[in-house]
């Protein structure tokens, strides 16, 4: 346990508490920095993000232009170190540019779903009664469909394209987030400290943010991070089925779909986009696990770091 004694004279309680509070965040960070798995996963994600962001500077090729003369070159071909696809485009280049759309389709729906689902869950959980019934039974309707099927259904109604993919995935991801938020909120709102806060005359908004949200946010963010992996897979799945971004746009799912035809001729080339999807979603899940551990206020202090 860190020493709490303040050197010299009468303690200024406010400043002392603030210093300690910062210390808690620092210890959270400390914990992440000493977790090699999370650190590695985060580093890989960062590398992927940067590479994708600066895609034009990372390659000499155009992702849309290929040559029939150099179709399906294997991995390690000079000039094309990850080989070429079925119409002779550089796979490395297309993976870089494809990552832009795939990550966008992975992260944005989760962010939207967290915002919408989190609010709905908080209202349902704290409001209770008929508000809860209306929100939760509506969510049950969405939850009844398998997630892939629901995404496919929505996409076939609103049509293909990136925006529609994001809308469809947001709708798919809202209901599990609402469910988690609602159950956490319901648990917390009946705890004595919320009753005590109500008894002290605090406003509902203050109770919701200071007492409920503060205790609910961590687990929801962790869950959201783990959903990014699922979202990327779903987005790729939609494109694979032709419901996402239309060709010739590079996107990992779309690449997987087109390279599928070459699976017997150049199996490794065909597996590359899939490997990217796998690595990215795995890394998101690992980071999510690490975050959960690091943000757990009890775990931090028990180790006495």
């Amino acid at each position: 346990m860190a020493t709490l004694d303040i050197p010299g004279g009468q303690p200024d309680l406010l400043r002392h508490v603030r210093r300690r509070r910062r210390g808690t965040w620092r210890r959270s960070a400390h914990r992440i920095l000493h977790d090699p798995v999370t650190l590695l996963a985060a580093a890989i994600l960062l590398a992927i993000f940067l590479a994708v962001l600066f895609a034009p500077y990372m390659t000499a090729y155009d992702p849309y232009v290929g040559s029939a003369l150099r179709r399906l070159r294997p991995i390690g071909t000079p000039g094309h170190w990850l080989g070429t696809d079925e119409i002779g485009r550089d796979i490395y280049t297309r993976l870089l540019f494809g990552g832009r759309l795939s990550l966008l389709a992975g992260v944005t729906p989760v962010a939207f779903a967290l915002l919408i689902g989190g609010s709905l869950g908080l209202v349902a959980g704290y409001g209770g009664g008929w508000v809860n019934t209306v929100i939760m039974r509506t969510m049950d309707m969405f939850y009844a469909f398998p997630s892939v099927l629901l995404a496919v259904a929505i996409c076939s109604i609103v049509g293909a394209g990136l925006t529609n993919t994001i809308i469809a995935l947001t709708i798919v991801l809202i209901s599990p987030i609402v469910r988690l938020t609602e159950s956490l909120t319901t648990q917390i709102r009946s705890l004595d400290f919320v009753l005590a806060a109500r008894a002290s005359g605090a406003s509902t908004v203050s109770i919701l943010t200071r007492h409920v949200l503060a205790n609910v946010l961590g687990p929801i963010l962790v869950y959201g991070t783990s959903l990014v992996g699922l979202s990327i897979i779903l987005a790729s799945g939609l494109t694979f089925l032709g419901l996402g971004v239309p060709p010739p746009e590079p996107e990992w799912g779309a690449m997987l779909s087109s390279l599928r035809q070459a699976i017997y001729v150049a199996p490794i080339n065909a597996a590359l986009p899939g490997a990217m999807i796998f690595i990215t979603s795995l890394c998101f899940n690992l980071v999510s696990d690490g975050l959960r551990h690091a943000l757990d206020i009890r775990a931090i202090n028990e180790t006495g770091i």
Partner: protein, 350 residues
């Protein structure tokens, strides 16, 4: 010797009571079936009336499920009451010409049994203590000063404890923080809902002593909810015995412990543990379980477990009789009512 008992006593009956609760009732609906319709009601609190005078500690005792904690929540307006009125210093709470719930909560605070659940795990002790005053419009500086003073008052060194999180405290320390939090709005009444029951005996004694000291120094009144009769005898001036949502007996502490009139109170006192090996149990302990509060027995609610139950007990709800004016001793039992047709109505020892 009960602490503070010399300050109470006879003057109470004339002065305006600090808190007056009349005919307080609450029934919780039980929902069931596909559409969640109300299929029954649990009458958790049924026609409870009592007064709390200045300087008093009122103990509320009874088994689990007797409605003690619901009374506490009704007083704090954490659940809404179905019927009844609450007057604080003569002002009706919630009425047009009375005071608001918010004003009431500034005068009355609560300490819960589970010291851990009662503290937000994400807030430091300091943040917990400034939260109430800040919510009521106190400045950052005032509430910080106040938090420091409160920690001193409950016996925690501000420099060591202000920045701690609840999980870094022991049970006794946490309960001290909860008491400090209850004090942070400068209330006149504190409801202690089994506040010492979960603590170790030695820690419990320390907290009880703290409560006694605070009461004297800060001019507090307590509503002390407990099932530990030894503690009740030590700390309270008046005792109210509850059974299945109703008050069966209430009187000054001496009267309850020396001359209990209700068979339930007698049975409770019998079950009180003692360290004197020569004291033998002479009365029958209570038999069986408490009935289902969804369908309480007709007439007297205690009759299903009462060794003296008679025909009249099933037929009529017993009236509340004042048996001793000086101790304001009230009991709701047919045996204490000379006008009832109970066979033992006259035969009860005085």
């Amino acid at each position: 010797m009960r602490p503070g008992s010399e300050t109470t006593g006879k003057r109470s009956s004339l002065a305006l009571p600090l808190l007056e609760v009349s005919h307080l009732s609450k029934a919780f609906p039980v929902r069931g079936g596909l559409l969640g319709r109300t299929i029954a009601h649990v009458r958790a609190v049924d026609d409870v009336s009592f007064v709390l005078h200045a300087g008093e500690v009122l103990a509320v005792v009874g088994e689990s499920g007797s409605g003690k904690s619901t009374v506490a929540q009704l007083l704090m307006h954490l659940v809404s009451r179905d019927q009844g009125s609450i007057h604080l210093e003569g002002a009706s709470v919630g009425a047009k010409d009375g005071i608001t719930v918010r004003q009431l909560r500034r005068s009355m605070q609560i300490v819960f049994q589970d010291s851990y659940a009662a503290l937000n795990p994400r807030l430091t002790v300091f943040e917990t203590l400034v939260y109430g005053p800040r919510s009521n419009g106190a400045s950052r500086h005032t509430s910080a000063m106040r938090a420091e003073k409160l920690l001193d008052e409950v016996g925690l060194d501000p420099a060591r404890f202000a920045a701690r999180y609840p999980h870094e405290l022991s049970g006794g320390q946490r309960q001290r923080v909860n008491i400090a939090r209850a004090l942070s709005l400068d209330p006149r009444i504190i409801i202690l809902d089994e506040a010492v029951s979960a603590l170790d005996k030695s820690v419990e004694a320390q907290i009880l002593n703290l409560l006694v000291t605070l009461k004297r120094e800060l001019d507090l009144q307590y509503i002390f909810i407990s099932h530990d009769l030894n503690v009740v005898e030590y700390i309270s001036d008046r005792v109210m015995v509850m059974y299945l949502g109703t008050v069966v007996e209430q009187a000054a502490t001496d009267a309850i412990f020396s001359r209990p009139r209700h068979p339930y109170t007698r049975a409770l006192l019998t079950s009180k543990p003692t360290i004197d090996p020569r004291r033998r149990t002479t009365e029958l302990p209570i038999q069986g379980e408490m009935p289902n509060p969804m369908s309480p027995p007709s007439g007297c609610r205690f009759r299903t477990r009462c060794p003296f139950a008679d025909d009249v007990c099933a037929a009529q709800v017993p009236r509340t009789i004042t048996v001793d004016q000086a101790a304001n001793h009230q009991v709701a039992c047919h045996m204490a009512d000379p006008l009832s047709s109970h066979s033992r109505a006259a035969g009860m020892p005085a």
